[in-house]
């Protein structure tokens, strides 16, 4: 595994080039590219606001700006997770020519897919920062948690991405299964709601490794407090295991790619 990681490092410029290609192609028409980056986050935020409004009506309480901010903060990373898994799932089958014709570490494809989505994520987050500035969430020391949480999220996405890309190369229906999970995943993830709304049963929701990360973002940006450290560690360990086992699985399957695609 050490050798394989070293080789991946040797090919880092290729990772950069493939990412650049994916971004460049998507942003060829710059307006469309920008819209593409914020379209899904905006839709998720809007549906989140509708759901939050419904809670407020049922609870006979006014809809607070903090709730809207929390939905927005969690919706944008969720959009990133969904699109990076979706793109990396198709990244090998979509680059058939390169997989069968030229040798290089193929995990570059799912990784580049995640990185290209990360670019979209930053574009959307830039828009989000403007919004947060207007509703005056404020700047605190807790914002330093953001890079940590994001890094964990990227690790998790790359891990899942490498696994689904390799498996979907062998089984063509995997991408439909992944699509179903991505569509309904939002109901099992605290995006429209907060885990604390569930009281004690909330911990079952936190078993979803994405949940502590999203809750953590909301905690440190809106509520000005540190994320729950235990649950964060759970997510981190889960992400590391996914990343490394995904890498090993991918490398194990890689020699058969060219003849099975």
């Amino acid at each position: 595994m050490k050798d394989e990681l070293r080789e991946l490092y040797k090919y880092r410029e290729l990772l950069y080039m493939i990412t650049y290609r994916d971004i460049k192609v998507r942003y060829k028409q710059s307006i469309m590219g920008f819209l593409w980056a914020i379209l899904m986050p905006i839709l998720i935020v809007m549906s989140g606001i509708v759901v939050r409004y419904a809670y407020a009506v049922v609870a006979h309480a006014p809809l607070k700006t903090g709730d809207i901010a929390s939905v927005a903060i969690k919706a944008v990373p969720w959009a990133f997770i969904v699109s990076s898994i979706r793109f990396s799932c198709n990244s090998l089958t979509g680059n058939r020519e390169l997989v069968t014709k030229i040798y290089f570490p193929k995990e570059i494809f799912p990784m580049a897919a995640v990185l290209a989505c990360l670019f979209d994520f930053f574009v959307a987050y830039a828009a989000l920062v403007v919004f947060l500035f207007f509703i005056k969430v404020g700047v605190t020391i807790y914002l330093l948690w953001i890079p940590v949480l994001l890094a964990t999220m990227i690790l998790l996405c790359v891990g899942i991405g490498t696994i689904v890309s390799a498996v979907s190369l062998f089984f063509r229906d995997v991408k439909y299964i992944v699509e179903v999970f991505l569509t309904y995943g939002i109901f099992f993830t605290p995006v429209f709601y907060d885990v604390r709304m569930f009281g004690d049963r909330g911990k079952w929701l936190l078993l979803n490794p994405v949940a502590p990360l999203l809750e953590g973002l909301s905690d440190c940006i809106v509520r000005h407090e540190s994320p729950d450290l235990h649950w964060y560690l759970y997510s981190l360990i889960f992400s590391l295991i996914t990343f490394f086992s995904g890498f090993v699985l991918f490398k194990d399957l890689e020699p058969a790619f060219a003849e099975s695609i």
């Binding site: 410029e13 290609r21 192609v25 290089f104 089984f171 063509r172 020699p255 003849e259």
Partner: protein, 408 residues
């Protein structure tokens, strides 16, 4: 470093013939069926075949080796194993130094990116770093001849331009071992010549080259040694000429496999005024006698003869029918004889005579001898190429540059 650039030791590669389960929907029921009922997996996925069997060879540093063989002989599989795209089922392989493959040279291109962007993308895919590409950028663009289109998205390129750019990038990768697979079929004649030039200069620079092509002419031009592959096994490793001869004679035997021979070319002689001869002087007259014996009743046949040069390039072709003779028909045991008179206006070299019995209206060959004879042409005039145009220099003049014209 040792002087071995590349070595394959007892390489085997197995492929599955039948369709394997490529969806979970099919795979999971099959697996559960196997687990719970002890039911065997579908018989189709047991049908395997060996694409390569016991392939061992060695290429020295700076040597160029050709691989020839029919479609499906395992050439591309061998190259894919060499370039590490596929893993051998068994066996060991050593490559000393950086290996670069000129296979499908446009695989890394993205249609929406410009020529320039694609140079960087494709160059990186082939293992160059940014600085390396930057330093060779001018060379690459000049080689492709696509200077004015370099900022155009490659989707607007013609397929020839596309391939030219791909080859240009791939050909500028600094490699210790270069693998070339049938890429020279792209581009026009001029570009093909340039590619051959490039490969030759790469060889001269000391790069080891592995060359796969159906174009035997370029194999002879580039490679000192060659391998003949057949059904995944090495038939011969020898000098290129010997291997090509073997390849062609092996392919000769049955014209219509599975069919019984109906006529037989029973005799072919090439002679000069005196008698049977194989060495001629350029421009000399030669006679070719062909005798055809029928084993069954066959109608409307013609005798066709042609000359090929050493690289199997067809240089001359004629037949009894083309020369205005009526087709002949034979009863079993019947014999047909004909004689062609030829002026051998061929340049100096070795040429192979091929004879064939052919029926023009249904386009069927009955028998062929390839080669029926080999002749050697000597020439007193020093000419190159395939034909002798008997050149004479009748005027020659040197004009000194005048001072006035220099001013312009």
């Amino acid at each position: 470093m040792s002087d071995v650039a590349l070595r394959m030791e007892h390489i085997y590669k197995k492929f599955r013939k039948g369709e394997i389960y490529n969806s979970l929907r099919d795979f999971l029921p099959a697996m559960t069926g196997k687990m719970f009922q002890g039911q065997e997996l579908n018989a189709t996925d047991k049908r395997e075949f060996w694409a390569l069997q016991d392939i061992s060879f060695e290429v020295k540093r700076g040597e160029s080796l050709g691989i020839i063989g029919r479609n499906g002989a395992g050439k591309s599989t061998a190259l894919k194993i060499l370039s590490r795209i596929m893993k051998p089922t068994k066996g060991r392989m050593i490559v000393n130094g950086r290996l670069s493959a000129l296979i499908e040279v446009t695989a890394g291109f993205h249609p929406d990116l410009t020529g320039m962007e694609n140079i960087f993308l494709h160059g990186t895919i082939l293992g160059m770093n940014k600085r390396e590409i930057q330093s060779k950028l001018d060379q690459i663009i000049a080689f492709s001849g696509l200077d004015e289109f370099i900022d155009t998205p490659v989707k607007r390129y013609s397929s020839g331009m596309f391939a030219r750019l791909g080859f240009s990038v791939a050909a500028h990768v600094n490699a210790d071992v270069l693998v070339v697979d049938e890429v020279l079929s792209v581009g026009d004649y001029v570009f093909q010549q340039r590619c051959m030039e490039r490969i030759r200069s790469v060889i001269q620079a000391g790069t080891t080259v592995l060359f796969v092509s159906h174009n035997l002419k370029s194999v002879t031009e580039i490679c000192q040694r060659a391998i003949l592959l057949e059904h995944g096994k090495i038939v011969t490793i020898d000098s290129t000429d010997a291997v090509i001869r073997e390849y062609l004679s092996a392919g000769d035997s049955p014209i219509n496999p599975g069919e019984k021979k109906q006529v037989n070319i029973s005799k072919v002689t090439v002679r000069d005024r005196v008698g049977e001869q194989s060495t001629f002087e350029s421009g000399q007259k030669a006679w070719v006698d062909v005798e055809v014996t029928a084993l069954e009743a066959v109608e409307k046949m013609a005798v066709v003869i042609w000359f090929k040069d050493e690289t199997q390039y067809l240089i001359f072709h004629t037949s009894t029918e083309r020369l205005g003779f009526a087709p002949f028909s034979l009863q079993p045991g019947g014999i047909y004889r004909c004689t062609f008179e030829l002026d051998l206006n061929i340049a100096h070299g070795t040429f192979h005579l091929v004879t064939q019995v052919y029926r023009y209206d249904i386009q069927k060959s009955y028998d062929r001898r390839d080669p029926a004879a080999t002749i050697f042409i000597g020439s007193t005039t020093a000419v190159g190429g395939a034909v002798n145009c008997f050149p004479r220099l009748i005027e020659s003049e040197t004009v000194a540059a005048s001072t006035e014209s220099c001013k312009v």
